[in-house]
Symmetry: C2
Subunit: 345 residues, 2 copies
Amino acid sequence: MTSRLKDVAALAGVSIRTVSNVVSGSGAVAEHTRAKVQAALDELGYRPNVAARNLRAGRTGLIGLAIPELHSPYFSELAGLVVQAAQQRSWTVVIDQTFGDPDAERRLLEGTGGRLVDGLIISPWALRPEELAARAQRTPLVFLGERSPAGLADRVAVDNVAAADEATTHLLGLGRRRIAAIGLQPHLHNGTARQRHEGYHAALDRAGLAPDPALERTVETLHRKDGYAAMSALLDEGAEPDAVFAFTDELALGALHCAHNRGLCVPEDVAVMGFDGIDDARYANPALTTVVPDKRQIAERVLQCLADRIYSPASVPPQDIVVPHHLEIRASTVGRAGESYEPTH
Amino acid sequence: MTSRLKDVAALAGVSIRTVSNVVSGSGAVAEHTRAKVQAALDELGYRPNVAARNLRAGRTGLIGLAIPELHSPYFSELAGLVVQAAQQRSWTVVIDQTFGDPDAERRLLEGTGGRLVDGLIISPWALRPEELAARAQRTPLVFLGERSPAGLADRVAVDNVAAADEATTHLLGLGRRRIAAIGLQPHLHNGTARQRHEGYHAALDRAGLAPDPALERTVETLHRKDGYAAMSALLDEGAEPDAVFAFTDELALGALHCAHNRGLCVPEDVAVMGFDGIDDARYANPALTTVVPDKRQIAERVLQCLADRIYSPASVPPQDIVVPHHLEIRASTVGRAGESYEPTH
DNA sequence: GTGAAAGCGCTAACAA
DNA sequence: TTGTTAGCGCTTTCAC
């Protein structure tokens, strides 16, 4: 069943070397010989053995993608794009889920798997910058998304502060004055929540509004249920928000569902917006206004960085790549006008 | 940087064999020696070379997961569970997206990658049963989900006919009589749509209702936008449905969004239900009634099958494993009662 | 244009 | 209990 180069060589009556040349397309082979070898190749249904190849080449052709969870729409969309982009570069992607577990992140950075991958893309979550720094020198590494300290390794992200500022400014522009923020994560050491929080404050500040602690909500994770719970608390505790800026779309969708269950009108009673630009947002009821990072470009740039690190021995200083984003305004903030919005792709 | 067994052996002043024993934990090593070796191991930061190991073992420790697209919630949830379950068995998962492309499916079945994976889990989409059969004999193979012909290889799926019947029966039980079906895919050769269609008919039949072609809608893909378009057409063409059974949750969410945009009340004017039990369904407005396959069990059984095929040379006849499902009844079909439903996890 | 052979790093059969 | 060594299948240098 499993035929090796040797078998093909024997059948074709040539040496192993010649078969190898035919398979790889390298080296010069006489047309006559090539045909003979190809016939043998086909007859035996030869498939190269990757393990042997890798051992020889010192590379595996695999790259790792470490994300908190595949299950969440933002990461699955991103992962899909990374897998696609990697394929174009003849890389195969191995996906690891860290579930926000610091030990899992640590293990991946240390490369426990034993040089399984040629490079690693990681979206850190629970690890402190110092610890990341200490471990970042093994395999080529790129920090992904908005949750990584700059200066340690290449990093690809959107400008979270600016984006959160724009989001908040959009709500302010609609005349909202009691804008809640859902998604603070003071217990985590990634910068995302902090940066979005900062942008939110900056916008309020420019509008001459003082931040109200009663309107700022901490969440444990970024799932819909946390958004739902935060919104419930906000309403129960009489914070009386007239708008909600959720730091992720999932949180926003949870908040939206809560508003719906409470019989509130969105956006009349309370406007809601999210961040991430996931597909669900477009089809929510009402459709959710959100900040959309250019995910395709994120995937592309991340792989570009990795390729540079893997193939170019010359060590360039860590790059900090900022990917564009834009606001997608829908019914959850502008109401009727957006209500009649017909989705297009 | 990259140290090999040989280096460790030299440093510890023992043979390569002893180091190997310490690393793998096999073989008996004197406590004294072990400590010495361990010290050397730590000092050099030794990491085994997987490629070499694989070459030796004749296995790569990788399994492939081929799905239409990672991007869709149903598949990303499933993929997340498969990755997790695989990890417990010390397997690493390589994800491939076929995007419903027959050539991509063909290539994967043929194992173009060259024995990269020890086994393959595939959710076929565009390939005909005959073709699947012809190619199914290379690496151990398990067909995943509801889209695979039985009898060719192991297969894990829910009972689609029964599930669709239950779904339709639920709507009939609410007094609905003009129940539309969204999600027919006569152009595809996978059985899913056909089976759900069959269950839908069976239920109508038992209720003494004749199927109305005007209520049955074909879709090109299973995305939300297709559900949206199908619902639009249904309404525009005056089919006057009082309920919609969408063959997937994504389609249902598209339909729901369309109903919302048209100002229809769900479920008063039209009840909507889906199939797949994705997380978005729970938080839709109104929350979506859906058929929930036990995804965790699907992942578990799929890996079990693969493990059996990979480790047991004895060739058992192909198994056809049916995984349980249940109806999750929410506001999109039962209205107010379910409206006050507070999500719990 | 083709063949012979070394060796990638590891495991395990055989020796001591 | 530990050392020596053959090969896993492939690529590639060196020789013809």
